[in-house]
């Protein structure tokens, strides 16, 4: 079976995750979190139903809160709030895996 990155259908998002994978290997953990978080915000913007009702609670609260977290502004726009600058390997993997699973589930 192809890797999860290769299973992303959207070219731009697949490219972004290929960059995140390379950053993980290079030890650039903040970059991994940045790319993963940006992809998740992109997903929420493309699938606004993920921010409706109970779905909003599940998709916002369960987003990792390990130094960067997700908020939904008053105008309904999702945004990443940064709590710190430095991330560990396991934190970077957590953001990466959470987002890639959501993208694949959404069929992007």
């Amino acid at each position: 079976m192809p890797s999860k990155v290769d299973r992303i259908q959207d070219d731009a998002l697949r490219g972004s995750f290929a960059d995140a994978q390379a950053a993980l290997k290079a030890g650039e953990y903040k970059k991994v979190v940045e790319l993963s978080s940006a992809a998740y915000v992109e997903l929420l913007q493309r699938k606004p139903e993920m921010l409706q009702g109970q779905e909003q609670f599940m998709n916002v609260v369960f987003f990792p809160r390990l130094g960067a977290h997700l908020v939904v502004n008053n105008d309904g726009r999702p945004e990443i709030v940064w709590d710190r600058e430095k991330f560990s390997f396991s934190e970077a993997v957590t953001y990466f895996e959470f987002t890639i699973d959501k993208l694949l589930k959404a069929g992007l």
Binding site: M1, S3, K4, K25, P64, R65, L66, G67, H69, D83, R84, K86, F87, S88, F89, S90, E91, V93, T94, E97, F98, D101
Partner: protein, 417 residues
């Protein structure tokens, strides 16, 4: 597939009293040791003992290293797992963890499985002053350093993000070389993929469908082969899942004797891990068991009831909707959530599905809620004599599958699967 027992040391408060009987905790600990001795005799492969603090009724297991040391002297073969040690340094200084793991490994003749984790409940995080957003980073740093303490002579020391210490020779060293097998608690799916990349076994709950579990196993082993940067000096590729067990001669008896305990497990877990209830728990003043017993039947799986649908992973029957018949419905629900509440044939049927999805280790919660010691012993005995043997006969086939998955891996492997 191998098998283990999982101990939270649950002890519901009496419904009609403010506190437990004076001997209740003593009796529960001694009973648990009897159960583990029986499991060892019957050929169970592992026990995993949790570490929790302040989670009254749900878990009175705050010093697992002491309990496991006692178990080591009552057993001969069973592996002694921490399921898990809380690694943020405010819970346990990393040097103390290294010393305790090594000592337990020595007194048990090398039977320790070193499970690690972060903790998640507000009672514990708040009680020890651990910031939720930092706990994973703390876990990683502490785990990495504890492994060095067990293998370096002397340990070189660290000025880390979350703790620091100068160079010291941390003694004793564990009997198993380079160190006991490493595990991490993986209640979130992402953590299983962290485990793979760090060369650790994954200890998770059985939340998934067969297809999801198989996909997870395939991805886990792909990562071990292709993207593994071991946190230790040897890797422990292994997938374990926890589910609830009640195994009796027939399904009705298994439900009668086991369902309430399974529900209390889920109810009290949800109570402490839901920040709205667990975060507002009044220490020493609540009676969770009384609330549970008085709750309507449809609320007894707790606040995360819907999320627990799938706990156990696999439907026990073909029905997609809840059956109308009461017993069948209870069984169906057990299969949806707990998986292993039924006759030996029913339990085997469930376990074969896990086996087909290449699970390495199934860990049973047998002691939970207000289940009697005699019933827990009965359930363990029946599982050991009527369920496990056929899986043991097939384990060699699973080991061949693992060997294929791990072909070409250059890291040292010290898994006991």
């Amino acid at each position: 597939m191998k098998f283990g027992l999982f101990y939270e040391h649950q002890i519901p408060r009496p419904r009609d009293k403010e506190q437990w009987d004076p001997d209740a905790e003593h009796k529960m600990m001694k009973n648990a040791l009897d159960q583990i001795e029986l499991a060892d005799y019957l050929g169970f492969d592992y026990i995993f003992q949790v570490e929790h603090h302040f989670l009254e009724e749900y878990s009175h297991s705050s010093a697992p290293e002491v309990f496991l040391a006692a178990a080591s002297q009552r057993t001969k073969n069973i592996r002694l797992g921490h399921g898990i040690t809380l690694m943020p340094p405010r819970y346990n200084h990393p040097a103390r963890v290294a010393e305790r793991i090594a000592t337990l490994d020595l007194v048990s003749d090398g039977r320790v499985e070193f499970g690690t984790g972060e903790s998640a409940s507000e009672m514990e995080l708040g009680g020890f002053g651990v910031r939720r957003e930092d706990k994973k980073q703390m876990w990683e740093e502490a785990t990495r350093e504890v492994v060095k303490m067990m293998t370096q002579t002397p340990y070189k020391g660290i000025e880390g993000e979350h703790f620091g210490m100068p160079s010291r020779n941390v003694v004793p060293k564990p009997l198993q070389k380079p160190h006991p097998p490493l595990w991490v608690a993986s209640s979130r799916r992402e953590t299983t993929m962290v485990a793979a990349r760090l060369g650790m076994g994954s200890l998770g709950f059985a939340f998934e469908t067969p297809d999801e579990a198989k996909e997870r196993a395939d991805e886990y082993f792909r990562l071990v082969r292709e993207e593994c940067y071991p946190i230790g000096e040897a890797i422990n590729p292994a997938l374990a899942a926890v589910t609830i067990l009640s195994c009796f001669e027939d399904d009705e008896e298994a439900i009668a004797k086991g369902m309430e305990g399974a529900q209390f497990f889920a109810y009290s877990l949800a109570y402490y891990y839901n920040p709205f209830t667990g975060g507002n728990h009044k220490p020493g003043q609540e009676n969770i068991y009384k609330d549970f017993i008085e709750a309507p039947e449809d609320k007894r799986w707790g606040a995360f009831g819907d999320a627990f649908r799938g706990f156990g992973g696999f439907s026990g029957g073909a029905a997609k909707e809840e059956p109308e018949d009461e017993v069948t419905r209870a069984l169906w629900r057990a299969a949806q959530r707990g998986g292993c509440i039924g006759s030996p044939d029913f339990v085997k049927d469930t376990l074969r599905k896990y086996e087909d999805s290449h699970l390495d280790l199934m860990i049973f919660v047998a002691q939970c809620g207000a289940r009697s010691h005699e019933d827990v012993m009965d359930s363990i005995y029946r599982t050991g004599t009527k369920v496990i043997p056929e899986f043991k006969e097939r384990h060699e086939k699973h080991q061949q599958w693992r060997a294929e998955q791990l072909a070409g891996v250059e890291h040292e492997i010290n898994s006991t699967i």
